[in-house]
């Protein structure tokens, strides 16, 4: 049973690796978006593996269902006139840029990895799954303020997006 869990972890890790690689390296932004979606599915699988099915389904619904569609809209609406949709400026990808980016990615991750490898806390065996009702009770009980605030944030973001969109049309 334990080997099965490790095999599933390895599969999801491969999904994350390949998807993340495609998301940051592919010239075409549409392919990068597909890589992102692959990564999102990998992370959702890891949530399942941690016995948090509610979060896994939320991940698929919110990220794969909503956020990636938004990003797809952004790709399609920002195409250069005459150009292919979502192609990153090809031409030159200077080696210096890649090296700097590699450094900026690996340095913080390396420091954090050193910390968690040396000071890793003792992991408990997996706790029992939290029933969905319990999550709802906490969210609408002691933490109702956070719940309301996130709705206000979403409303403000949507209103802001609409305002920006209107301004754009008026200026045209």
């Amino acid at each position: 049973m334990e080997h099965l869990a490790y095999a599933a972890y390895g599969f999801y890790l491969v999904l994350i690796l390949v998807g993340g690689w495609a998301a940051v390296r592919c010239r075409s932004l549409v392919r990068a978006l597909l890589g992102l979606i692959m990564t999102l599915f990998g992370v959702a699988g890891m949530y399942f593996l941690m016995a948090a099915p509610f979060l896994a389904l939320m991940q698929i619904m919110i990220y794969v269902g909503a956020v990636s569609v938004l990003i797809f809209f952004a790709i399609m609406l920002t195409r250069a006139p005459g150009g292919e949709a979502g192609a990153e400026d090809g031409g030159s990808r200077p080696a210096l840029r890649t090296v700097m980016a590699l450094l900026s990615g690996l340095l913080p991750a390396g420091i954090l990895a050193a910390v968690i490898l040396t000071k890793t806390p003792q992991a408990l065996p997996l706790k029992a799954e939290v029933p969905l009702g319990r999550l709802g009770q906490i969210l609408t009980g002691p933490y109702v303020l956070a719940f309301e605030l996130i709705s206000v944030v979403l409303l403000a973001a949507m209103a802001g997006a609409v305002v920006l969109g209107f301004e754009r049309r008026k200026g045209a």
């Binding site: 940051v24 890891m46 939320m58 609406l77 944030v153 997006a161």
Partner: protein, 102 residues
């Protein structure tokens, strides 16, 4: 290796990919994709810490849920901002959007 460490390393991997993409991507939409990668890593680390340590399980899961909500709000706003930038300057290349106009 303990499962906690494995999940945290996967989250770190997402952080590294996201930082790399944020620095190397030229278009604003590509940078948005990288930011989403990093936010996912944050959520994964939160849930792993909540599920596999004595920390409060429910709070960790709800925190990850709030991260997802914030990511959705952020994606909406960034979409609108990118559209305005493209309308105004005709490009979403971050190298060419580097001038301030007084």
């Amino acid at each position: 290796m303990s499962p906690l460490l494995l999940f945290h390393l996967a989250a770190l991997l997402l952080l590294a990919f996201g930082l790399y993409g944020l620095t190397s991507r030229r278009t604003l939409v590509g940078m948005l994709i990288s930011v989403e990668l990093m936010l996912n890593g944050a959520g994964l680390a939160l849930v792993a810490s909540a599920r596999l340590t004595p920390a409060s399980d429910e709070l960790g899961q709800l925190g990850a849920l709030l991260v997802m909500g914030l990511a959705a709000a952020e994606a909406t706003l960034v979409l609108a901002m990118v559209l305005v930038a493209v309308k105004r300057y005709g490009t979403s290349d971050s190298d060419r959007l580097s001038e301030l106009k007084g």
